[in-house]
Symmetry: C2
Subunit: 268 residues, 2 copies
């Protein structure tokens, strides 16, 4: 099969990466996509670097079976810790969400004060901070891990007093630092955008990596002349390591459309 | 090695099972223990039955390498879903936490109205409900999953306004049902006992399976004449699938004492 006809591979620790798939479907509507969500071992954000790297390597190996022409790491935690190792081991082009997200924030901030929120592992990695500083050393970066945000989203508590109070608690230090742009450094967080925006006030722009990542993937494919030529409706395949039904049901919220076939994979 | 000299095996999805180890050390101070915490794949409570069973089978296989004389499933989620399958596959005696916890609650309730809280998977299994009904069909059982409790404990938010508000939200239906005993059906929950007690008021007795489980293990070993004869200080070994340091540090809170050697295991 010619490279341009091959699918794009996307992986995430679970379901959140579907927000990136949504952006890819919008930006590149003719590209077939193979999605892999490691729902049996989710979350990655509370785990150590070595485990995150090991799981990410396995995820790339899985996607390579489909002859993917490029791989997108939709997971912020995995992008933060595993990207350099993955690029060293595999020849396929691999795109993470940290650089696109950082670029978008650098474009947004006028006060040159950017906030970053993410899982414990993402924040511990300092990946966003280092990337933003590399793009513009004059920008001050303030980071905060928000370990309860993912379980809040997965519980469906997207609004209400408890979510608001948790958001205010996490975001108070960032507000005090007078940031004017906030990177939502976890694919679950866009679902909490309304409470996050209320906690910070209207002067802060929320930056979500998904759109910028899709644009970067489009650029990469164009540069290699790997863009899908056909105007046909592409095939989308979804693979998970836990129960497919649960993923298909919850996934609609993230993808914004029904998910047809989801297949289960066992690593062993 | 004679059976009585062999260690007891304990497994959990992560760190919480150390509360059961603590009770075992108190009840059976001369028994060597091998603990296995699946910290790379934690939590189990949000996953499906088939995944919980698969992981639990692997955990038992790991413990069998140490020639354990009995296995305790410290994890409520795994006890709820995997125990019947494990007993079918393995000859070693396997003790879960559901029956001991249910017995303790049946002894405690005078109103014959028992509440059960646990992970989504534990509550979905109805394991506690069925066991309590089997022991005393006249007892009414009211169940509630509390998916935010584990992340609250792991964030160290054991007190404060947010924990109190989340506890009140989850427990309000149980309070309305006028329960007088509540099973803490997850090894993390004893750390939230003060906020849970405040949310329910002093008339409700909190029941934690750990002590009752240790008593049941003691009975099992005595019956088989497998109790450790020696009065020596026993060896304790801890194995985890993610970073040992993090486990050793956090684990002190659960075990109530320092954890010396923790070793890492890779399944693949």
């Amino acid at each position: 099969m010619a490279t341009h006809a091959k699918p794009i591979g996307v992986f995430d620790s679970g379901i959140g990466g579907l927000t990136v798939v949504k952006a890819l479907m919008r930006e590149l509507p003719h590209e077939p996509i193979v999605y892999f969500g490691d729902t049996a071992r989710v979350p990655y954000g509370s785990k150590s670097k070595s485990t995150i790297v090991r799981f990410s390597m396995e995820n790339v190996e899985f996607l390579l079976r489909f002859g993917v022409k490029a791989i997108i790491i939709a997971c912020n935690t995995s992008s933060s810790w595993a990207l350099p190792t993955l690029r060293r081991y595999f020849k396929v082009p691999i795109v993470g969400v940290i650089r696109p997200g950082s670029r978008a924030a650098v474009q947004q901030t006028t006060a040159k004060r950017v906030g970053v929120i993410g899982t414990e592992a993402t924040i511990r990695s300092r990946a966003y901070e280092l990337e933003i500083k590399r793009l513009d050393a004059s920008i001050a970066v303030f980071s905060q891990s928000c370990p309860l945000f993912v379980p809040l989203v997965e519980s469906g508590w997207l609004n209400g007093a408890i979510s608001a109070q948790i958001a205010r608690t996490y975001l108070a230090p960032l507000k005090r630092h007078r940031i004017d742009a906030l990177i939502l450094g976890c694919t679950h967080y866009p679902l909490l955008a309304p409470v996050i925006q209320r906690a910070l006030g209207p002067s802060v722009t929320l930056v979500d990596s998904a759109t910028q990542t899709a644009a970067e993937v489009k650029g990469l494919l164009a540069w290699h002349e790997w863009l899908q030529g056909s105007r046909q409706r592409p095939r989308y395949r979804f693979f998970v390591t836990d129960e497919p039904d649960h993923f298909a049901r919850l996934g609609q919220q993230f993808l914004g459309q029904a998910i047809r076939s989801v297949e289960r994979v066992n690593y062993r």
